[in-house]
């Protein structure tokens, strides 16, 4: 809608002068304050704002940590202990950054499931969705790199195992994988060269994310928000200005989110982490049970679901890659799953499959956990490449409301029809 007409009129001499040189206030007005937003957005829609908050928290705490952290195989672990014990409020800043990564992923998962449920990836929002998947991918890279920095046992072995994914390409062209592996590590093993480059990239990527977030919001503001009914905005009666309606709603949700965040930071700062990461990296001893951070567990389960190394690695990357094609995999004309009784049930199963994969990823890959990982992996892919296209073709959707305004009135019927008493 930023392509449409502007609703801003400068009122005084200064704003008129500024507007004809750098129309900053106009851009803010048209894209934030007065941005026409569907009136029916629910709380699932507040996670965009929550994600922006998370990114800001990671940037601020990260830059502060970087002032004390030493990127070297000899000193990294000690510098983390120094941050925890000696730096003023170092423990707080580090715990916020550590748990901030988890909160960031929690929010992004809610945000993504929301998009899948309401069909927000469908035309005209394909680019918006793809930019989101790119952000998610960059987040995973950033979090992986960050997790190696404290140079604990999990940092080291996580970095070893994950960089080793690339050695699978030796099965395609002998020597290719090992070449890429040495290139990534800058040595024959994960060591000083690796921790230095991982730190440089860990510092860089969040700013790249910020850039892609800008494009993501731009791509959002051309078609405007989708909404829980999935039908298009038909006119001004369907929208309210972003401010104050959604600044308040987003602000309220962010405040609740911060409470959850604070519970982790102050009462269970290491609950989501792994105790082995407080043991300094030892290249000669692998911990008995390597597990990644919780937000990677479903992918880890997919990796281990098949006995062949190359297939495992390809499936794991494929699980992310398939998300890029979702806009073209769903052949239903109706966006919102609220009006798609059959798809909705498959969607619920999909959420369950993801959770089950997460559970299986934390267990040793054997017995029931392995079986669940295999069933989960199967469903994960079948959901995208078969269920999504096919269900859209034969399912009879429920009747869609005529407009967002009518849908809102139907839901709160009394208030609209009867005068207040």
């Amino acid at each position: 809608m930023s392509g449409g007409h502007s609703t801003y009129t400068p009122t005084n001499g200064f704003t008129k002068w500024l507007d004809s040189r750098l129309p900053l206030i106009r851009v803010m007005n048209d894209n934030v304050t007065n941005f026409p937003t569907p009136k029916n957005l629910n709380y699932w829609y507040t996670f965009g704002a929550i994600l922006t908050f998370c990114l800001a928290v990671q940037l601020v705490t990260g830059i502060v940590l970087a002032m004390h952290y030493v990127a070297s195989a000899d000193k990294a672990f000690a510098s983390i202990e120094y941050i925890m014990r000696d730096v003023n409020y170092g423990w707080l800043i580090r715990y916020v950054h550590m748990n901030g990564a988890s909160m960031f992923f929690l929010a992004v998962y809610v945000h993504m499931f929301r998009g899948l449920y309401y069909g927000s990836y469908k035309a005209p929002r394909e680019i918006l969705w793809i930019l989101g998947v790119i952000i998610y991918f960059l987040m995973m890279a950033t979090a992986f790199l960050g997790y190696t920095l404290p140079w604990g046992q999990m940092s080291f072995w996580g970095a070893t195992v994950i960089t080793n994914f690339f050695s699978a390409f030796d099965q395609v062209i002998p020597g290719l994988g090992s070449g890429v592996l040495e290139w990534l590590r800058g040595d024959f093993a994960v060591d000083d060269a690796a921790v230095k480059r991982f730190f440089a990239l860990h510092y860089l990527l969040p700013f790249v994310i910020a850039g892609v977030v800008f494009l993501h919001i731009w791509a959002l503001h051309v078609p405007g928000n989708n909404n829980p009914t999935g039908i298009d905005v038909k006119g001004p009666q369907d929208t309210v200005p972003f401010h104050p309606y959604y600044t308040v709603k987003d602000g309220f949700a962010t405040a609740i989110f911060m409470m959850l965040f604070a519970v982790f930071v102050f009462y269970a700062p290491n609950y989501l982490g792994h105790p082995d990461n407080y043991v300094e990296a030892n290249p000669l001893v692998t911990p008995a049970h390597i597990v990644p951070e919780w937000y990677f567990l479903p992918f880890y389960a997919i990796l281990r679901a098949v006995p062949d190394k190359l297939t495992g690695v390809l499936l794991m990357f494929g699980a992310i890659g398939v998300l890029f094609f979702v806009p073209w995999l769903d052949w239903s004309k109706v966006r919102s799953a609220s009006y798609r009784p059959v798809f909705r049930q498959f969607f619920v199963l999909f959420v369950i499959a993801c959770l089950a994969l997460g559970w299986a990823g934390a267990q040793p890959a054997e017995g029931a956990a392995l079986l669940i990982a295999q069933v989960g992996t199967f469903y994960y892919f079948i959901f995208f490449i078969f269920i999504m296209p096919v269900v859209g073709l034969w399912e009879t959707p429920r009747k869609l409301p005529e407009s967002i305004a009518k849908a809102v009135l139907a839901k709160n019927g009394h208030a609209a029809v009867q005068p207040a008493q």
Binding site: R185, P283, T286, A288, I290, P307
Partner: protein, 188 residues
């Protein structure tokens, strides 16, 4: 972009293609140092040999030394372990078949890079797995007493580094050839 009224290729098209080509080549040349700096540096390459004194190692014992910052297992095999390795030569579950004779210089001494060929964990020398060799706890790979993969997701045998015996009780890892290379020369 029509530069001239005629549709034929003209000088301007030529200049356009040439300048684009030269720019692309220039960009590629400039990118190479930026890519290559990521490869192991001369300092990392220089640490490439390790000398090990074998005299203190008892039969049945496995010691771990480091070579190029990576663990290397040195196992003084017992008669039983050597026999198991030979039996394994003809086993049907070998994923990466190689006779034991091509993996050692002297049957008593087995020298291996201690990195699981699946995703790079260090297999355990305490928990020796179903084949009495090594067990990798990360995703459950079992290696035999010749370091060959017998069960689990790893695709290849544990690698044998190049090394040489400089005396009866001393080896230098990273120098000389691998046993497989040497045995090929003998048969050739």
């Amino acid at each position: 972009m029509a530069h001239s009224p005629s549709e034929t290729v003209n000088r301007r098209d030529f200049i356009y293609i040439m300048s684009a080509t030269v720019s692309a080549a220039g960009a590629a040349v400039a990118a190479w140092p930026l890519i290559d700096q990521m490869n192991p540096s001369a300092a990392a390459q220089a640490l490439s040999s390790t000398e090990v004194d074998l005299s203190a190692i008892q039969p049945g014992q496995i010691v771990t030394v480091t070579w190029r910052k990576q663990p290397v297992f040195i196992r003084r095999r017992t008669e039983k372990e050597i026999a198991e390795a030979h039996e394994g030569d003809t086993a049907s579950d070998l994923k990466d078949p190689q006779p034991d004779a091509q993996r050692v210089f002297k049957p008593e001494w087995l020298v291996l890079v201690g990195i699981c060929t699946h995703l790079g964990c260090v297999p355990s020398s305490q928990v020796r797995g179903d084949y009495d060799g090594w067990f990798c706890p990360c995703h459950g790979s079992h290696y035999d007493t010749s370091g060959r993969i017998r069960k689990g997701p790893a695709p290849k045998n544990l690698a044998v580094p190049n090394y040489e015996f400089v005396s009866d009780t001393k080896i230098v890892i990273g120098e000389g050839k691998t046993p497989a290379e040497t045995s090929k020369e003998h048969t050739a």
